[in-house]
């Protein structure tokens, strides 16, 4: 019966006038193409971020030794291949900036919000396709501006991805001139792009759901992306405002963050983290959403506690607004304030617990199929938990005292961002690959990539907890000058080797990704036997998605439903004899 549904719903792009290559693939307003554009660009930035990380690891593992291939770097960065202190700080700063703003954020939001929201809601496209296109080009522009800062005099920022003032506000103190301005400009442009994208997603989710796609029939991925968009629309303007003030401090001689003239150093931190913490949830919520879909699919079982999963997302997003101070416990912030921030931060463990245990509940008594997305999704659950739990140490203010700004934090960062967001992406990319390119990624290589990544990832980042407890600070060029850090240098070396291995095995992914574009095996219409609306379309989905706006008959997780008969899944678009067609809502007036 499903196949019948497929035939009737699938469209062949017949009535669409053939478009030129440029209109179709470059200046496209089709949400799917825009998503794919985002995919390629941000994967490239992910690669850049990774390359920067490798140099960081070289320096931390083998301080003062000339870096292989470091000769190609200009003397101002690496004298005779030996990384210079200022360049090291720039590496760290740009690594964080690229990974957060230009790799993970666009990968999760730019790619999958764009690609999935209309497909999973049964909409023809985004509410504002052109704003959507603008959003992509602005993001690319921002990325290029940020990259450019490597090639200007004095190079890119030297104040960490957090750009704490007054260091970042005073060129005479940081030694960075143009680079700092470019950072601010790039972030303002990126913010604009994100706001454009986000208001698009919000409007689409609210106004463009196909008949029958009620709020509580939306897949968790869409819920997560929707809430993420709300965070984005409200958080990024704050960063923009802050970045603009920082820019003016640098170029106009204003004094927002410069205490010498009455400005306030902590103001920057408050503004940055008021954006920053919602930002980190922007980086995890979509991952959680897509993982929920994939785990349900892999377990052939409805998601455990759908409603509480939705409310957990909302709860995390809400709490995310009142915890930013946990980054400032040691900053001299009013200690009473610290106490309240600690409590709110700890409370985030509660909705997170709901999510983690509900994922377990979903796998419980399931019929687990370990396709590559499922493997990575399971990796996500187990690794994000570690990252989240290490967050509890830092959330407890007294314990944060010794570990703040040490490698322990760095470990946390990577357990949530790599073990969380990136594993979710390694799950999502092969999962929706057929929908994007009409071909499957290679299963064997995928599994190998997962296994090796999982191992080397843990070997790389877990020891960071220990050297962090040992007291190794973040962003230091050469740990070995401290006597109390010398003994643990061997561990640093070990981490570095693991990191190089980790980077190397990513080649498997790159190869698999690129090779499958041409030679991957053709994808059947519904390769994962999934319930989502997108699988009612041929692969790749045609421009405009559906011929007729489809109807939605049930929730997204009806796996192994008794109604499904011999099959173990029951798609949202399949009409059973017992189903009645939903009534479309009347068109709002005004146009």
């Amino acid at each position: 019966m499903t196949s019948v549904a497929h035939k009737t719903l699938g469209t062949h792009d017949a009535h669409h006038a053939p478009m030129s290559f440029w209109r179709k693939y470059i200046f496209s307003t089709d949400h799917k193409i825009i998503g794919i554009q985002f995919l390629f660009v941000s994967l490239l930035f992910l690669l850049v971020g990774g390359l920067l990380a490798m140099q960081i690891r070289w320096q931390l593992g083998f301080p003062g030794k000339p870096m292989p291939g470091g000769g190609i770097l200009p003397e101002s960065m690496a004298a005779g291949g030996v990384i210079l202190p200022e360049y090291y700080v720039q590496l760290v700063s740009m690594h964080g900036t690229f990974m957060v703003f230009f790799a993970i954020m666009p990968l999760l939001v730019g790619v999958y919000a764009n690609f999935l929201i209309p497909l999973k809601l049964g909409a023809h496209d985004m509410a504002f396709p052109r704003i959507n296109m603008a959003s992509f080009w602005l993001a690319l522009l921002a990325g290029l501006i940020m990259t450019a800062s490597f090639f200007v005099p004095n190079g890119p920022i030297r104040s960490g991805w957090t750009n704490y003032a007054p260091l970042a506000a005073r060129p005479d103190l940081s030694g960075v001139t143009v680079g700092q301005m470019l950072w601010c400009v790039s972030i303002v442009v990126l913010g604009l792009s994100s706001v454009m994208g986000s208001l698009n997603y919000i409007t689409t989710v609210i106004n463009h759901r196909a008949p029958g796609m009620t709020w509580f029939r939306m897949p968790l991925s869409v819920w997560a992306l929707f809430i993420t968009a709300i965070l984005g629309v409200l958080a990024l303007p704050v960063l923009q405002g802050a970045a603009i003030m920082l820019l003016f401090d640098n170029v106009l001689g204003t004094h927002f963050f410069d205490p010498v003239a009455g400005g306030q150093a902590l103001l920057w931190q408050h503004l940055f983290w008021f954006f920053g913490h919602p930002e980190v949830y922007i980086l995890i919520l979509p991952a959680m959403g897509m993982v929920s879909d994939i785990i349900a699919n892999g377990s052939r079982k409805p998601i455990f506690g759908y409603h509480s999963m939705v409310f957990a997302i909302i709860g995390i997003a809400f709490l995310g607004w009142i915890v930013w101070g946990h980054h400032m416990f040691m900053s001299g912030m009013n200690p009473t304030l610290g106490s309240s921030f600690m409590v709110s931060t700890l409370l985030i463990a509660v909705p997170s617990a709901v999510k983690v245990f509900n994922w377990l509940g979903t796998m419980w008594r399931g019929n687990l199929h370990f396709h590559v997305p499922m493997l990575n999704a399971i990796g996500f659950v187990s690794m994000f938990t570690i990252g989240g739990l290490s967050g509890i140490f830092m959330a407890a203010t007294p314990v944060d005292i010794p570990i703040h700004d040490t490698q322990f934090i760095v470990a946390h960062i990577h357990y949530v961002l790599f073990g969380g967001s990136l594993f979710a992406l390694f799950a999502a990319i092969p999962y929706w690959y057929p929908k994007m390119f009409g071909r499957m990624m290679h299963e064997g290589i995928g599994k190998l990539h997962f296994g090796l990544t999982f191992i080397f990832y843990n070997l790389t980042f877990f020891p960071m907890h220990i050297i962090g407890m040992g007291g190794q600070m973040r962003r230091i060029y050469d740990p070995t000058i401290y006597d109390f850090l010398k003994p643990q240098q061997p561990l640093n070396v070990f981490i570095s080797y693991s990191a190089f291995a980790l980077f190397t095995v990513q080649i498997l992914f790159v190869f698999n990704f690129l090779w499958s574009l041409k030679f991957g095996k053709k994808a059947p219409q519904n390769p994962w036997n999934d319930n989502g609306m997108e699988w009612s379309l041929p692969n790749p989905a045609p421009h405009g998605n559906w011929e007729r706006t489809p109807n939605v008959y049930r929730g997204p997780y009806e796996f192994s439903s008794p109604e499904a008969g011999d099959k173990d899944f029951l798609p949202q678009f399949v009409k059973l004899p017992t189903d009645r067609d939903p009534v479309p809502a009347p068109v709002p007036a005004g146009h």
């Binding site: 010498v260 040691m330 900053s331 001299g332 509660v350 370990f370 938990t385 010794p402 700004d405 109390f484």
Partner: protein, 225 residues
């Protein structure tokens, strides 16, 4: 090679390390629960021909349980943490009898000012030492942190003490060393390219030694370094 926090060197180390251990246990339990769950399910419920998954949309009872337990633990943890937090960081907690020293941070060095024989800061007999922190053991010391240029952070791992020095702010961080000997003071907040080498040596003396040192320094002997 140490696998734990550095050896305790101040009165803060006790409670903080205990808290650390407590959280390690709590989170450890949570972690084991999750990971064991994952592994067992992966093995037990792997797809086998002819099996069908158990069709359920969840169980409110289970969810209430795993919402309530973390909630309770976290609130409890918050209360305990807050007790020590106030003890360590709150302004009112600085012992009245504390020995006040001035710690002035600038790119990329620590300038430590001692009250001199009269025991009062801001008087004529104060003297300043570069990148050397001398304190008496078992005596509360209050470091009055200030910064010349950018944000730095006063960090002595053995004392479990970290506090940013922020330009334009006057922050007091107090502590009481419990172990004599030589330690290191590091800067824990990125403050520029020299951040990594912004390091000072820390000497914890017996009271007598310390007095001797102070008088000798005040007499102009040694000066800085």
């Amino acid at each position: 090679m140490r696998w734990w926090l550095p050896d305790a060197g101040s009165t803060f180390a006790g409670p903080i390390d205990t808290m650390f251990l407590a959280i390690l246990i709590i989170t450890g339990i949570a972690l084991v629960l999750v990971e064991v769950g994952v592994v067992t399910f992966v093995i037990r419920y792997r797809a086998r021909p002819g099996r069908k998954a158990f069709y359920t949309h969840g169980s409110t009872r289970a969810e209430v349980i795993w919402t309530a337990i973390p909630a309770v633990t976290m609130v409890a943890l918050g209360l305990v943490s807050n007790h020590y937090w106030v003890l360590i960081k709150d302004r009112k907690s600085v012992p009245p009898n504390a020995y006040h020293i001035g710690v002035h941070a600038k790119q990329f060095e620590w300038q430590i000012t001692y009250p001199g024989p009269d025991g009062k800061l801001g008087t004529a007999d104060d003297f300043t030492v570069r990148n050397q922190l001398h304190v008496p053991v078992n005596e509360p010391v209050a470091a009055e942190l200030s910064s010349e240029d950018v944000i730095h952070s006063f960090f002595v791992p053995e004392w479990r003490l970290k506090q940013d020095a922020v330009p334009g702010m006057h922050i007091i961080a107090w502590f009481q060393a419990t172990k004599t000997g030589e330690f290191e003071l590091g800067c824990a907040e990125l403050c520029g390219m020299g951040h990594y080498k912004m390091r000072a040596r820390v000497f914890v003396h017996t009271p007598e030694e310390f007095k001797a040192w102070v008088t000798q320094q005040a007499a102009g002997g040694g000066g800085s370094e």
